[in-house]
């Protein structure tokens, strides 16, 4: 099995055994049907058990799988008539973000996504899907265009994070992300975000201020990559698996925090097992949410989005019931 992950090994070994037994049976003329049936049953059982109870770190490895479908794979499968549009009109065209016009069930939409490379050369050209400021500004330009022409916006989130580099800093990485967050809050068109792989930090959020956030079953979304967290927590980036467990990065966690509205199921074993099926389930979910939002006026969409994000956060306020008396601090002069 190509691209097998370490935790999938017992399964592939069992499958190999079944194949061997079948081959041996055919060659020697001995009937192993019962044996094979028993093993196949065990295989199905193991498969269900393995994929039903994936740990956060196993999901992280699936989300980062090299053959996991990318934004362009989905854009080309889900939408028709895709016209890719390029450039931020200020500096360059950042290939770490792709976007353009397309039709979803005959309706024109603006579609934007982070784009990882398919191979090493492609990855280098696309900075491994980590955008520079010009990428975020390209996305903003396309979203402003969508807002102007009253088209819904669909974004695909799949990045380890914004590109950490001196050129990115010089051109205002912080400002580019911050501006997207502020502008996305005010668009009067529906925005649907789909986390398809890894949602890493501000670079992910810069395409993520939507009325609805949907997330694939094995996708992850966090404030810092588990590797980064491990290097801060234990000064050891290789302990990412442990960090993944404590950081609450799975789709289930994000639903429980009220951030994600819906989890989109993946084919057994992950999205890369069946692109066509995965694209179809994403399409169904995105379309359903767009239909729900189609009755909203521009103002209602802004309010809906604002309230979604306004609610996020967990804190305690001991005197919340009573109107808290203003506390006046007379600080000592320095």
């Amino acid at each position: 099995m190509a691209g097998e992950l370490p935790f999938e090994k017992p399964l592939s070994e069992l499958r190999k055994k079944i194949e061997e037994l079948k081959k041996f049976g055919a060659e020697s003329g001995i009937d192993f049907t019962d044996e094979i049936c028993r093993l196949e049953e065990r295989c199905t059982h193991l498969q269900e058990k393995l994929y039903d109870e994936l740990t956060p770190s196993q999901k992280m490895h699936l989300a980062r799988h090299h053959s996991r479908p990318t934004s362009l794979d989905y854009i080309q499968t889900i939408f028709s008539d895709f016209i890719e549009l390029h450039g931020d009109r200020l500096f360059a065209d950042d290939l770490a973000i792709v976007g353009g016009l397309a039709k979803l069930n005959g309706i024109p939409v603006t579609v934007i996504g982070h784009q990882r490379g398919k191979d090493t050369k492609d990855n280098i050209a696309r900075f491994f899907g980590s955008p520079h400021p010009e990428g975020f500004r390209k996305a903003l330009r396309l979203m402003q265009q969508a807002n102007k022409f009253n088209r819904p916006i669909v974004t695909f989130i799949d990045t380890k994070g914004a590109y950490p580099g001196n050129t990115a800093e010089e051109r205002g990485q912080s400002e580019a992300i911050a501006r997207n967050l502020r502008e996305m809050a005010m668009f009067g068109v529906p925005i649907i975000c789909v986390v398809i792989g890894e949602g890493g930090s501000g670079g992910a959020l810069a395409l993520g201020v939507g009325n609805r956030i949907l997330m694939l079953e094995n996708a992850i979304y966090s404030v810092i990559s588990p590797n980064g967290a491990a290097s801060i927590l234990w000064k050891d980036a290789s302990r990412a698996d442990e960090a993944a467990a404590v950081m609450k990065i799975t789709a289930d966690d994000l639903v429980s925090f009220g951030i994600v509205e819906e989890i989109i199921a993946e084919p057994q074993g992950g999205a890369h097992r069946d692109l066509a099926v995965q694209a179809e389930t994403i399409k169904e979910a995105v379309w359903r949410h767009l239909q729900e939002l189609s009755g909203f006026s521009a103002e209602q969409l802004v309010v809906d989005r604002y309230e979604k994000f306004r609610k996020i956060g967990k804190f305690k306020s001991p005197s919340a019931q009573a109107e808290p008396a203003a506390e006046i601090i007379e600080s000592a002069q320095v």
Partner: protein, 291 residues
Amino acid sequence: MFKDLFHKRKYATIPSGQQPRTKPDIPEGLMSKCPKCGNIQFSKEIEKNLKVCTSCGHHFRLNAMERIAITLDEGRIEEFDADLESEDPLQFPGYAGKLEAQKKSSGLRDAVVTGHGAIGGLPVVAAFMSFDFFAGSMGSVVGEKITRAIEQAHARKLPVIIFSTSSGARMQESILSLMQMAKTSAALAKFQGDGGLYISVITDPTTGGVSASFAMLGDYILAEPGALVGFAGRVVIEQTIRQKLPDNFQTAEFNLQHGQLDKVVHRKEMKSILTKLLDMHAVKGDIAHGG
């Protein structure tokens, strides 16, 4: 046996942990060393100089209370939401204990103090971040307090001034911290969209989730000299691009040069610049609020 007798010990043994090292007889905190120029000076002299090195002009970090004292008229703030406290929503290992320790050491409940006050006689809503609480990191409480302050300013038709200093989003609240970036930015979108005035003052250091949200969204963005401002940390960048970065990388001056800031303002000038800016937005004795 004889071998042992003539065996020479390689090392002399010294009894350990017996005598405490003798310290020079200087009272704790009397003198301070400037981390930039190394000049040793009386702490009182530095404090009198608004915590700016008397020799090289290095701006020492101020905590929220020190900043309030030198910024707001009479150092007086009518504090908002003073009772908000962080929870431990992820049950993150060690977080609850660390929060308690930070509260004790800083005297704050979280990394920002917000409230109502005046600058040069002009009323403002202001937020003061404090690096001495959890490295100024933004979790749910910081995001909520900043958002509420912006909403208060909106309701009262007052300008907002935010003094930022932060290491970024607070990892221990993971995705909830990340979402505070969107929450605060959305509040600014509404406020600024209605004509509200927001002045962002960036102090040392301001990075990550705070620089990539409200700190960089000011109608006017000021910074203190030498303040570190950037998105990704220097070490991360050096590891990624495997190049040595210039010494002034991500300083306020570097950002000014690259067009990311309006002005680098010395601490001594800050209050007068803020007063002038506020004054220029005042209409008929009231602060301009467009809408």
